[in-house]
């Protein structure tokens, strides 16, 4: 058996690769200038404070520096990126009112079907704007607000949003947070009132259809005291031979004793620069659970951060990253323990093949205030071939003696013993290897609702059939 290898193919993204002719109603010019930012602001009918916020963010963007520590983003030229593309429709709450080509896009992605079967509400964004937003009546009757952020900015929650918009991720955080602040468009606002448990998930799906465009949606979720929510986001795009950019922002406010699970299946096309920022603040007794599957993009920088701000707050991060040919995916997480009795658990897997590069990068910070806090980090990487790379860069910064911090990391290949064992049970070598790779990512798939776990497994497994040679 020595020297034999299973060829594990790239994740098959052809399923997501269909595209429709662009019929956008409006798009700004390429590049980034104050005039373009003002134009976006006018188009979106921003309140005055938001217009000023955008221009201030642009100033910060212009004086911020590019990151020099991760994958190269030299192929991304902001002069060629269109930051705002409005599709030829207005947002609708009725599926039949959505234009045919856009409707067909989301139907092929299975969104309406998922809405009928397993979701409490759906938001669908096409390029820069939400085209469909709906929430089940019984969920709305509980007082749950699930709407597009622009509507919320002018509604009864306007002050709440102003108070919290880009407060967890300020534009000064990094260059692409500043870019987001300047040109953000679309995304969702969710408010779950105290004590309300949303039993089935809400989902937002982001589709970028226009070549050379950027998507900058903003997701703001507030789960009030004692409430519970599972929010799912999915994203995809057809592949073009020009660079596309995703610089979204997610801000999660988890109240006292509240629970928020935030699941992402990211499957951007391989011309995408995914420079996304996600952050959660968790109050006393609350818990945030991140479930993250990173399969797409040419380059990713993605490190969801949890700030444990109240006594007994908890964070869990479960992630899988699959880097195939032409991909450099730099993913991980950051957790800041800033209150007593807080705890965190990080469990990640990464798979590299066909020259793909995956990097796990994490930081656990336990401050002086975080007495009796606990953190455990476990990351495992699987190298399918020697053309690929897999790096693990975890960091720990502990500033109190009353903490327990554990970390373990492993990098290796598919175990010959495990393959041999499965073969002795009558499973072919090809199937055995495929089974092991698939099982390797089980930490994430078991955390997702069944329909999404199936989708994720399909992403990994469909193409794992391969010749041995």
């Amino acid at each position: 058996m020595a020297g034999e290898k299973t060829i594990v193919a790239d994740v098959d993204r052809s399923f997501y690769d269909f595209r429709y002719e662009e019929k956008d109603a409006f798009r700004v010019a390429e590049g980034l200038t104050p005039a373009i930012v003002e134009q976006i602001s006018r188009e979106k009918n921003d309140p005055d404070w938001m217009r000023a916020f955008r221009l201030r963010s642009l100033e910060i963007y212009n004086r911020s520096v590019m990151p020099d520590w991760g994958p190269s983003i030299e192929g991304l030229d902001m002069e060629n990126i269109v930051t705002y593309v409005r599709p030829n429709t207005r947002m609708s709450a009725a599926w039949e009112d959505v234009p045919e080509d856009i409707k067909s896009t989301f139907e092929r992605l299975g969104i309406p079907q998922a809405e009928r079967e397993s979701l409490a509400g759906v938001g669908a964004q096409y390029d820069s704007e939400l085209v469909y937003h709906n929430v089940r009546e019984e969920v709305a009757a509980q007082g749950v607000v699930y709407t597009d952020l622009e509507s919320a900015l002018r509604g009864p929650y306007a002050d709440v949003i102003r108070e919290r918009f880009m407060k967890l991720v300020p534009p000064t955080d990094h260059k692409f947070a500043a870019l987001h602040g300047a040109v953000w468009s679309g995304g969702s606002f969710v408010y779950v009132p105290p004590g309300v448990e949303v039993e089935i998930p809400l989902q937002s799906y982001f589709r970028l259809n226009a070549p050379g465009a950027g998507q900058f949606e903003h997701t703001l979720i507030i789960v009030d005291e004692g409430a519970r929510l599972h929010f799912i986001e999915g994203c995809s795009a057809p592949k073009y031979n020009v660079a596309n950019l995703h610089a979204g922002c997610v801000e999660l406010y988890v109240g006292k004793n509240a629970l928020l699970r935030y699941s992402t299946i990211e499957n951007w096309s391989k011309n995408m620069y995914n420079l996304n920022t996600k952050r959660a603040k968790v109050e006393a007794g609350g818990k945030v659970e991140w479930v993250s599957g990173s399969f797409g993009s040419h380059v990713s920088y993605l490190y969801p951060m949890s700030v444990l701000a109240g006594r007994g707050a908890r964070a869990e991060f479960t992630g899988v990253t699959f880097a195939g040919a032409g991909q450099n995916l730099d993913t991980g997480c950051k957790i800041v323990h800033n209150a007593p009795d807080t705890s965190s658990y990080v469990n990640t897997r990464s798979i590299s093949k066909s020259g793909g590069v995956s990097t796990f990068r994490s930081a656990v910070v336990v401050t002086e205030r975080a007495e009796n806090s606990k953190s455990a980090v476990s990351c495992q990487s699987l190298m399918i071939d020697s053309d690929s790379r897999s790096d693990t860069i975890p960091a720990m910064d502990i500033r109190t003696d009353k903490a327990d911090v554990g970390h373990e990391a492993k990098i290796g290949r598919i175990s010959g013993d495990a393959v041999f064992y499965l073969m002795s049970r009558g499973i072919s070598e090809e199937e055995a290897r495929a089974l092991i790779v698939s099982g390797f990512a089980e930490n994430v798939s078991k955390e997702l609702p069944l329909e999404y776990a199936v989708e994720m497994n399909n992403l990994i497994r469909i193409e794992m059939k391969g010749a041995i040679g």
């Binding site: 520096v65 590019m66 990151p67 020099d68 520590w69 991760g70 190269s72 983003i73 030299e74 991304l76 030229d77 902001m78 990094h174 260059k175 950051k334 990068r361 994490s362 930081a363 910070v365 002086e368 007495e371 990487s381 190298m383 399918i384 071939d385 020697s386 690929s388 790379r389 897999s390 790096d391 693990t392 860069i393 975890p394 960091a395 720990m396 910064d397 502990i398 500033r399 109190t400 003696d401 009353k402 903490a403 327990d404 911090v405 554990g406 970390h407 373990e408 990391a409 492993k410 990098i411 290796g412 290949r413």
Partner: protein
Amino acid sequence: MITVNKPLANTFGWLHGNGTQIEAPASTEEITLTAAAGEERIVALPDSPSARITVSVAENAVLRLIQVRRGGDGGVCDIHVDCAENAHFEWYRVVLGGAASYDNCSVTLRGDGSSFLTELGFRLGGDERYDVNCEAIHLGKKTRSDIHAAGVLRDRAFKILRGTIDLRRGCAGSVGSEMEDVLLMDETVRNQSIPVILCGEEDVEGNHGATIGRLDEELVYYLASRGVSREQVYEIMAQAKLNAVISRIPDEETRLLLTENGAEGETI
């Protein structure tokens, strides 16, 4: 075109991994150590404020380097090691304080079957600082690296351990392993650890484990039930961590010196 510029401001440069560089003083002592083919050497170097040590270990040779820092102002020690086929290098480093100490030990496992072992022990208190970078670069096939670090921080002491296992393409059959165990004794200490594994080869294993913090409560409870106070338990365990490193030093004289001069048995 976007130009790559300066790094992002961040909590403690965690995004940069182990990229930090420290400049050695001009008065640096240059030391060259070699082990000829088949030779087995133990070298115990006296402490030096600033030293650059170049080590070459030939085929089938073994070189064991022992260094103890006893406090004072600290200093800079920069070690570069090259291991030929089946060569073996060991670095025993005990740091018993020092206002500001910087160590770098970079070992290139060039030859097939070569190996590297580090046993690092530290005991820091007051306002002492210790910054150590330990790197194993696996180039040859079936190479092995083991980085073991254990120590105790007290008062306002600061320590950062940057450990890198770099498994380069072509080092098939290699194994890299890093373990760290740090006991924190006061609420004002600060410990940073960045254990990096870089992997460009499929047929390898890289492992890392770290335990940082206080003692296991069950252990404390058990010993307390036997009449040992909480403070005494911590003292015993702190000493045990350092003793474990000292007991592995392959030079009796150094071991005795450390024992007699207070590395063992002394309240820290």
